[in-house]
């Protein structure tokens, strides 16, 4: 073993010891290249998900049933944009740039959560998204609040605080519709039927098939396995659905006394893979909207820079 290799191994051992001792890793600390890469990939894709996540909801902004609902939805969407920014900012501490991350999103190289490639067909979808999609996101994100990378964990704490409003506003929409007319109840049920399975897919492949999980757990980037988090979400959500008198679209769903958890049916992993590959109902539309928004905003960014430059020259002359 040569000197450099030995040094690297010592650094890695010290790094793992630090992680095991529950010490947080901060931007300027030494970290294995793979740890950095894993975080850049995971955090930027998380940021992209927040940003793309604004699009399905934006679809209902102009058609919200009341001014109150519209203002609330606007605030929620603004939060998602903010969450994207927290996460981009945290990712930049790892040495990647915002431009690079945008480029990867727009070129299709980076993924975002597949859930946003499903369409929002009725107002009840906004309720279902807040209740189950954001509910699932919260379960995932609470686990990430204790991630070993300091900036990521801190961003997650801020996000979790705000996410709770999102879930409650969604549940309230569902509650209103579930207690409404027959048509409204049907809309609520239909929304739950369409969002339930894609929501369960948000937790990722089963543990046995999750390639990167073991290393991420060892590095404490991940704290709980995909299947554990999925189970946690289901256990929490079933009683909420019962209260709404809505039916979760899974005939295998049943309480298992022995396990102390709900049993549930098999997820359609072919659908999952196909949407991840880009063949979901809205993949192209989402990416297109995102690229157009970015390109369309270019003149604003350019003008702001030109203005800043002009002010600088003016101030220099005046001084």
């Amino acid at each position: 073993m040569d000197v450099i290799e030995q040094e690297l191994e010592e650094l890695e051992t010290a790094f793992q010891a630090k992680v095991d001792a529950e010490q947080r890793i901060e931007p300027k600390d030494w970290m294995p290249a793979k740890y950095r890469q894993t975080l850049i990939r995971q955090m930027s894709q998380h940021a992209h998900s927040e940003v793309v996540g604004m699009l399905p909801e934006g679809n209902w902004l102009t058609r919200a049933p009341s001014l109150k609902r519209k203002a609330i939805l606007m605030a929620k969407i603004q939060d998602e944009g903010g969450h994207g920014l927290y996460l981009y900012s945290a990712t930049e501490t790892l040495g990647t740039s915002r431009d690079e991350m945008f480029e990867q999103l727009h070129s299709g190289k980076a993924k975002y959560s597949s859930i946003f490639n499903y369409p929002t067909l009725s107002w009840a979808d906004i309720g279902a998204i807040g209740w189950v999609v954001d509910g699932a996101a919260i379960v995932n994100q609470i686990a990430l609040c204790r991630c070993s990378y300091g900036p990521y964990a801190r961003a997650m704490i801020r996000i979790c605080k705000e996410e709770s409003f999102h879930q409650r506003q969604g549940y309230e929409i569902m509650m209103t519709m579930a207690q409404g007319t027959k048509e409204q109840r049907e809309m609520a049920q239909d929304a739950l039927n369409r969002w339930w399975w894609p929501t369960l897919m948000m937790f990722g492949p089963n543990d046995a098939n999750s390639a990167n999980s073991a290393q991420s757990m060892k590095w404490k980037i991940k704290r709980q396995s995909n299947d554990d988090l999925r189970q946690k979400f289901i256990d929490a959500t079933v009683p909420q659905a019962e209260f709404l008198k809505l039916t979760i679209p899974d005939d295998k769903l049943a309480w298992n006394d022995e396990r102390g958890h709900y049993d549930f049916g098999e997820i359609d992993w072919d659908e999952f893979k196909s949407v991840v590959k880009g063949n979901g109902l809205c993949n192209r539309e989402r990416l297109q909207a995102r690229i157009e928004a970015h390109d369309g905003g270019k003149w604003v960014r350019d003008a702001a820079l030109a203005y800043a430059a002009k002010q600088k020259t003016r101030n220099a002359k005046a001084a």
Partner: protein
């Protein structure tokens, strides 16, 4: 690592005082064309729920930071001066709390 920032607005670090009497605390960063835009963006991004009464923004490139690698030697001058801590001095119980 890449420092490519050809089209990017400069990066600003954001510090927020959550209420009078407390220190400003680092909360994150954002891109803006100038300091004024950085302030208003910071307000929109980091204080949507009255999290702050005062905001500082500082260009990230203007921050000078110590490096973790020389943590040992950098802080060494304080390591061998245990007498700076009150616990260094043993007082008899009869003296009571001091």
């Amino acid at each position: 690592m890449s420092n490519e920032t050809k089209n990017e607005h400069p990066l600003y670090e954001v510090f927020i005082r959550s209420k009078n009497g407390l220190d400003h605390k680092h909360v994150g960063s954002l891109h803006a064309s100038d300091a004024e835009m950085a302030l208003t963006n910071a307000r929109d991004v980091y204080t949507r729920r009255s999290e702050g009464v005062s905001i500082w923004v500082v260009k990230s490139t203007d921050i000078v930071a110590s490096s973790p690698e020389d943590r040992g030697s950098f802080y060494e001058p304080s390591d061998d001066k245990l007498y700076r801590h009150p616990t260094f001095f043993e007082l008899p119980d009869e003296v009571g709390h001091m």
